[in-house]
C-alpha cells in the first residue's frame, strides 16, 4: 500500500508551505515535494504605482531582509532614471548603499547561524526540542548567545544609519540615496564603545568561523554527507571575478566548475533564465534557458557564491576562502551543510567591507543623486543574504509601473530544496511507520541550510508551526505529529 507523509504547514517568506513525501508498497520514498501554498501577489499590485514608490513598496515582501528588496528595486529604478550601469551612481551613493547592504548581510547571516542553525549544531538535530532552540543556546553558552545578539544589533544599527530605520527604511531612491552618514554616525559605527564597533565585529566573525571549523572537525561525516548532491551554481560576481554582493555580472558554473553562464549583463537575464510553473506550488522553478528545466536548475546563496567567485577582495575572508576551496580541491562544493561555512566566511567579508567603507571619506559625502535619460525598462540584481535577487520593472511614459517580475532567492533554490527534502526523506523515513520528532527536524535541517525565511518560523520557541502526518493511499491517517 502506498503512503503519503504530509508536513504541513512549513512556512516560507511570511507564509506557509508543506512537504509531502510519497512512500511505495515497500515503504521506500518515491517522491518528495516542498509545496509553497501561499500567493503573495506583489508583482501585480505594484502595477499602476509610480516607479519611485517601488523600492519602498516591494521591501514589504519581507521583514527579515527588506534591505535586499529595497536595493534591488532601487537598482532597477536607477536604470529607469538613466543612472544604471557600473558607474551610474555618485561615489557616495554607491558606498552608502553598499554599507547598507553589508550591514544587512552581516545581521542576517548572524541571525541565521546563531539563532536558527546553531541549536542543531550545538545539541544535534535529534536533541529534545525544548533544548534545541535559541534559548537553549543562551542557557548552554551565554557568551555565544550574547555575542549573537550584539552582532545582529550592530548590523541593524548600520541599516538604521543608512536607511533611516532598522526595518523598512527609505534610504535608496532612484538614482542614489537620500542621506549619507554624518561624521558622528560614522565615528560611532567605526570606533563606538566596546563591543559595538567595526573591529570587534571582525574579531567576532572570526570567532564564529573558528567555532564552526571546530565543530566540523568533530563531525566531519555529518557535515560532509548530509543532503549532499551535485548541482549548478549561480550568482553575481564582480567583473574581475571577485565576490561582490552588491553589483556585478551573472555567472553560473556546473558541478565540475565549468562556466555555463559566462559573466553576462544582468539587464539581459531574461535571455538566460526562465521560470517553470508547476501545478502543485505557488513558487516557480527557475532554470537556465539553454540547459532546460531538467538540467538548468541551480543553487544560489552563500555556497553558490563561493563556488562562482574566483576570490574575495578582503584579506581575512580571502584566507578563509582558500581553506574552504581546499576542502574540495578547488572544485565546486556541493555539500549542503557547508553552506553554513560559506555563510560565515561571507559574514567575515561583510565585517571587513563595513570597516573599509567606514574609513572611506565618500561615506560622508553630499553628492547623493544623479539622473540621466529616462528609460522604459530596468533590471536590478543583488546578492541577498539568501542568494541572487532579481527585480525587473517596465515603466510607462506616465511614470506608472506597467510590469514587474521578481525572482527572489528562495525561488531560485526551489529545486535544490525539493531535492534536499527528497534525499533526507529517503535517508530518514524509508520504511518508517511512526514519525519521530528527529525525523521531522532532519527535513527541516535540510531546508534550513538554504536559509529560506521559513527558518525563523520553524524555530519559533514554543510555537513550532510544523505538522507531519503519515497517511495511507486511501487517505487514512496512520500517524500525525504537530509541534
Amino acid at each position: 500500500m502506498t503512503q503519503k507523509i504530509i508536513i504541513e504547514p512549513v512556512t516560507r517568506v511570511e507564509g506557509h508551505g508543506k512537504v509531502t513525501i510519497q512512500l511505495n508498497d515497500q515503504g521506500e520514498v518515491t517522491q518528495s515535494r516542498l509545496h509553497i501554498v501561499e500567493f503573495r501577489g506583489f508583482e501585480r499590485f505594484v502595477q499602476g504605482r509610480p516607479y519611485w514608490e517601488a523600492p519602498v513598496l516591494v521591501q514589504r515582501l519581507c521583514g527579515i531582509c527588506p534591505v535586499s528588496h529595497h536595493l534591488a528595486a532601487a537598482k532597477a529604478m536607477d536604470v529607469i532614471v538613466g543612472a544604471g550601469g557600473d558607474q551610474g551612481l555618485t561615489p557616495t551613493a554607491e558606498k552608502v548603499r553598499r554599507l547598507m547592504h553589508y550591514g544587512q548581510i552581516f545581521q542576517s547571516h548572524t541571525l541565521h547561524f546563531f539563532h536558527l542553525a546553531s541549536p542543531d549544531l550545538l545539541f544535534g538535530y535529534d536533541a529534545p526540542p525544548a533544548q534545541r532552540n535559541v534559548v537553549g543556546v543562551a542557557l548552554a553558552n551565554r557568551g555565544l548567545a550574547l555575542q549573537a545578539v550584539l552582532m545582529r544589533k550592530y548590523g541593524q544599527e548600520i541599516i538604521a544609519a543608512t536607511a533611516g530605520k532598522k526595518i523598512h527604511g527609505t534610504g535608496a531612491i532612484p538614482g542614489g540615496v537620500n542621506k549619507s552618514l554624518t561624521l558622528a554616525e560614522r565615528d560611532q559605527l567605526l570606533n563606538g564603545p566596546h563591543p559595538l564597533n567595526a573591529g570587534q565585529m571582525i574579531a567576532w566573525a572570526q570567532g564564529a568561523l573558528a567555532f564552526f571549523k571546530d565543530y566540523y572537525k568533530k563531525n566531519k561525516a555529518f557535515i560532509d554527507g548530509f543532503s549532499r548532491f551535485p548541482s549548478n551554481h549561480l550568482s553575481l560576481v564582480r567583473r574581475d571575478g571577485a565576490l561582490d554582493l552588491y553589483h556585478g555580472v551573472l555567472r553560473a558554473v556546473d558541478a565540475e566548475g565549468r562556466r555555463i553562464l559566462d559573466d553576462v549583463d544582468y539587464q539581459d537575464y531574461i535571455a538566460h533564465i526562465r521560470e517553470e510553473v508547476r501545478s502543485w506550488s505557488y513558487m516557480k522553478f527557475p532554470y537556465l534557458l539553454h540547459l532546460g528545466p531538467d538540467n538548468g536548475w541551480y543553487r544560489v546563496g552563500p555556497l553558490a557564491r563561493l563556488n562562482t567567485a574566483d576570490f574575495i577582495p578582503t584579506p581575512l575572508a580571502q584566507a578563509e576562502f582558500e581553506t574552504f576551496k581546499q576542502a574540495t580541491g578547488g572544485k565546486p562544493n556541493d555539500m549542503c551543510m557547508h553552506t553554513h561555512w560559506a555563510r560565515l566566511i561571507e559574514t567575515l567579508h561583510a565585517a571587513e567591507a563595513i570597516h573599509d567603507l567606514l574609513l572611506d571619506a565618500d561615506i560622508t559625502g553630499s553628492d547623493l543623486v544623479v539622473k540621466g535619460a529616462r528609460q522604459a525598462e530596468g533590471v536590478g540584481v543583488i546578492e541577498a543574504p539568501r542568494g541572487t535577487l532579481i527585480h525587473h520593472f517596465r515603466v510607462g511614459a506616465n511614470d506608472l509601473i506597467e510590469m514587474a517580475n521578481l525572482i527572489v532567492s528562495t525561488t531560485h533554490n526551489n529545486e535544490p530544496m525539493n531535492r534536499a527534502v527528497n534525499q533526507v526523506a529517503k535517508t530518514y523515513m524509508t520504511g518508517q511507520k511512526i514519525i519521530t520528532e528527529p525525523m521531522m527536524n532532519a527535513v527541516e535541517v535540510a531546508i534550513r541550510a538554504y536559509d529560506p525565511c521559513l527558518s525563523c518560523a520553524t524555530h519559533a520557541y514554543g510555537r513550532m508551526p510544523l505538522e507531519i502526518a503519515l497517511v495511507d493511499a486511501a487517505g487514512c491517517v496512520l500517524d500525525r505529529k504537530r509541534k
Binding site: 499602476g48 504605482r49 509610480p50 519611485w52 514608490e53 523600492p55 519602498v56 513598496l57 514589504r60 532614471v81 536607511a163 533611516g164 530605520k165 523598512h168 527604511g169 527609505t170 534610504g171 531612491i173 532612484p174 537620500n178 542621506k179 543623486v369 539622473k371 510607462g396 506616465n398 511614470d399 506608472l400
Partner: protein
C-alpha cells in the same frame, strides 16, 4: 490699529486680535486645535469638521469662527476627542491609505492625527473604493486613493494668472479632485512643489522626485502633531 478682545479658552482668559480665526488665535495662546482642511493663508472651509469645539456650549468649527469679545471656547472634552478620532477613522476607512509605501508618511497630517488619537484599527468597515492614479500631467501625480477632498489644493494653488490648478469632478460619493489640464499647463517646479506641500496627505505628488527626505527629518518624526502646544 488692531483691536484686542478678551476670550476664554478652556476656562482661561486670553487676549486676541478682534476677528482673528479661532484656530490661529488658540495656537497663538499655545492651545492646539486639530485641523485638516484648514491651511494658513487661504479662506477657511469647515469641510472636515475635525476642529469642532464647543462655543458657548454649542459645537462649531474653529476654523470658520472668528474671535469676538467674550467668546467662551471649550477645545477638548472626552466627547470632542472621541468625535475627532471617529473623523480620522472614517477618512482612513473611506479611502485607500497605505502608509507603509506612501511618500508622505512621516509628514502626513492625517497619519499624524491617527497617531495622536491612537487609531489602530478603525471601528468602521473599510470601503476599499476602486480609484485611479491620475498620471498624465508631466509634473504632478494625483493619487485619488489618498484624497480626503479637503479642497486645500483647489483653494490654495493658483497659476500666475490666478486660475485654480485643481477642480472638482463628478458628483456625490464619486466626487474627485482633478488636475485642470488648461490651468496647469507649463507650471513651474516651485508651483508643483507648493501643490504637493499644501496637500495634507499623499494625494498630490511631484513626479520623479520621491522619498528625498530621509526618515528622521520628516515633519512629524521628532515632534508629533500638536505636541508643541497644549491640547
Amino acid at each position: 490699529m488692531a483691536t484686542f478682545v478678551k476670550f476664554t479658552l478652556d476656562g482661561k482668559i486670553y487676549l486676541s486680535e478682534d476677528g482673528a480665526p479661532l484656530v490661529e488665535a488658540a495656537r497663538a495662546c499655545g492651545v492646539f486645535i486639530p485641523t485638516l482642511c484648514n491651511y494658513t493663508g487661504i479662506p477657511p472651509k469647515g469641510a472636515c469638521r475635525i476642529c469642532t469645539v464647543l462655543i458657548n456650549g454649542l459645537p462649531a468649527t474653529a476654523c470658520t469662527t472668528k474671535v469676538v469679545e467674550g467668546l467662551n471656547v471649550q477645545t477638548s472634552t472626552p466627547e470632542l476627542e472621541s468625535f475627532r478620532q471617529a473623523i480620522v477613522e472614517i477618512l482612513f476607512a473611506e479611502g485607500n491609505h497605505l502608509c507603509p509605501s506612501c511618500e508622505k508618511s512621516g509628514s502626513c497630517e492625517l497619519q499624524a492625527l491617527a497617531y495622536r488619537y491612537r487609531v489602530t484599527v478603525p471601528h468602521f468597515p473599510y470601503l476599499f473604493p476602486r480609484r485611479d492614479v491620475e498620471a498624465w500631467h508631466p509634473k504632478l501625480l494625483k493619487d485619488h486613493n489618498r484624497c480626503i477632498q479637503c479642497k486645500r489644493c483647489i483653494r490654495g494653488i493658483r497659476n500666475p494668472a490666478g486660475k485654480a490648478l485643481f477642480a472638482f469632478g463628478k458628483r456625490g460619493d464619486r466626487v474627485v479632485i482633478n488636475i485642470d489640464p488648461v490651468t496647469s499647463q507649463n507650471i513651474s517646479d516651485a508651483l508643483a512643489q507648493q501643490a504637493m506641500d499644501i496637500c495634507p496627505v499623499g494625494a498630490i505628488l511631484r513626479k520623479g522626485k520621491g522619498f528625498d527626505v530621509p526618515i528622521g527629518r520628516r515633519t512629524y518624526d521628532r515632534t508629533p502633531i500638536g505636541a508643541e502646544l497644549r491640547s
